[in-house]
Symmetry: C2
């Protein structure tokens, strides 16, 4: 495949940017990949692992002459980065990001971008509970969705080119508006993460159930929760603070439903429980049929990692 | 390995009993394995898959001359089975079960067991979201815990023999009293399952987020929840109805914590969120160090299934 961009700048070198670097190199999607991260150690690791061709100390240097700039820092750090790089962006460049929240990022970044630069926000729905430059792998995005949210005024050809990059890395691409994105993700990702964090915290608090027991006897349910609750604390703090309204709305719905099921347990209404559990099974079947997961007990995770 | 029991009767032929049958045959732990299930189709499948040597139409026939009787039916069906088999149990036989709740099962089954029969309740902490005779595999219990709850009067030699069977199938064995078991499992399994069911139900209800979107864009958090929420509805209805007090207590704690985190989101208290998420990460590390899961993105699931 010929390069989609001559030069790509990765701002932040964690799981997502690192995986993008490896995938772009594997498929020859970028002429040169320049990376930067605040920590010198991360920059050294990134070069050592081949996540990018070279690193710079600052984001301002990294974006010089870049055709595509990828903002891959925690959502709460996007505004500072945008302020720093704004004056150094090449005319005609495209700026994108990989944050889990879109309305906030667009509001925070857009004011700093000059005329003639296209901002096409993005969100690859892929990840693991690991973070940092060591966590990346080239096949992370294969058969996963990447949602693109073009901002007002972004040229269609800039959107098409970014789409080609993501498709080149194996992703399926869809477009969405920012408010709808934030609501959908509140349901499918943000609320579930807060719930998992909460349940793991409750287990930790219970003094009658010693830590060793909780750990030794962590059957399927709790074990899966702990994996979710091991995700990067900085990233998730920022997600909840910046997608506040949608997350709180979904959590309100969740609590309402939970109380109804608690009442069914208390009153011994087995039929209500059975019907509810039967209904939720169907969603799982839908996910498997949509190819977002597999029937196999390893969920296909083992097959997408190199 | 020489047989631990001359004849084993499996009452119910789902995921757990089927896996026991395959594991016992693979390791030569039982002279003969007799199985039974209410459905003729299940019995046919079980013989076809080699889960047992032969099947009987009734539980009463299955337990004849059995040295070990394994009750592997939903918790809510245990009492009926005990009533049926009580008169046909061989003197000196051991009765065990594989239910997820222990106090209720012991109370329901014990009254029907004659003198001279040892009841050692059990709970293998292993499973998948699949159910039925097709779901079983011989390595399901390898390196997993099986908790044994000997009832009053059970002879130590009967407990030791059942322990030897589980260890022969690859499990680690621990003993516990029924009340403590039910509390620990409410934390590590029962409450997490109800929470996952609830979250999946909420997603299903939201008309603004179409089904296709919820399914297509089910990122890690929600996708893991759907797997948990795809578990057998009958089994889980019975678990909640029979471990009511401990489950409701843990759910009460959960709601309290969730409200505290919701308030932190609403007031923008990023430090509280960050500290909480950092703490829950440590539990995950503990689980990995305890060998109950792996760092690998497939959780080691792929490595334990044949």
């Amino acid at each position: 495949m010929s390069a989609v961009y001559d030069r790509v700048a990765l701002i932040g070198l964690g799981l997502i940017a690192g995986s993008m670097g490896l995938a772009m190199r594997q498929h020859g999607l970028a002429g040169e990949i320049v990376g930067t991260a605040r920590s010198a150690e991360t920059r050294d690791v990134a070069v050592g692992l081949g996540l990018c061709d070279r690193v710079t100390e600052t984001a301002a240097e990294a974006v010089k002459d870049a055709d595509l700039v990828v903002l891959a820092v925690p959502v709460g750090a996007m505004e500072d980065v945008a302020r720093e790089i704004g004056p150094y962006l090449k005319p005609g460049a495209t700026v994108t990001d990989v944050g889990s929240v879109k309305k906030h990022v667009i509001d925070a970044v857009s004011p700093y971008l000059p005329e003639g630069v296209d901002f096409v926000a993005g969100h690859p729905l892929a990840g693991t509970e690991h973070s940092g430059p060591h966590a990346g792998f080239a096949t992370l995005f294969v058969n996963r969705w990447c949602l693109l949210i073009p901002t007002e005024g972004a040229r269609p050809e800039a959107v098409a080119r970014l789409r080609a990059l993501w498709e080149g890395m194996g992703a399926k691409v869809d477009e969405m508006d920012p408010e709808h994105h934030d609501l959908v993700l509140a349901v499918t990702s943000h609320a579930p993460h807060l719930i998992a964090y909460t349940m793991v915290g409750v287990a930790d608090d219970l003094r009658r159930v010693t830590d060793t027991e909780v750990i030794n006897y962590s059957a399927a349910g709790f074990r899966d929760f702990t994996r979710i609750a091991a995700s990067d604390p900085t990233m998730w703090r920022d997600v909840f603070l910046t997608n506040k309204d949608a997350t709180l709305e979904i959590l309100g719905r969740f609590t309402e439903e939970l109380f109804a099921l608690q009442r069914a347990i208390r009153t011994g209404d087995g039929q209500q429980l059975f019907d509810y559990f039967t209904r939720t099974r169907a969603i799982r079947r839908g996910i498997i049929e949509a190819g977002q997961d597999t029937e196999a007990p390893d969920f296909g995770r083992g097959t997408t990692r190199e």
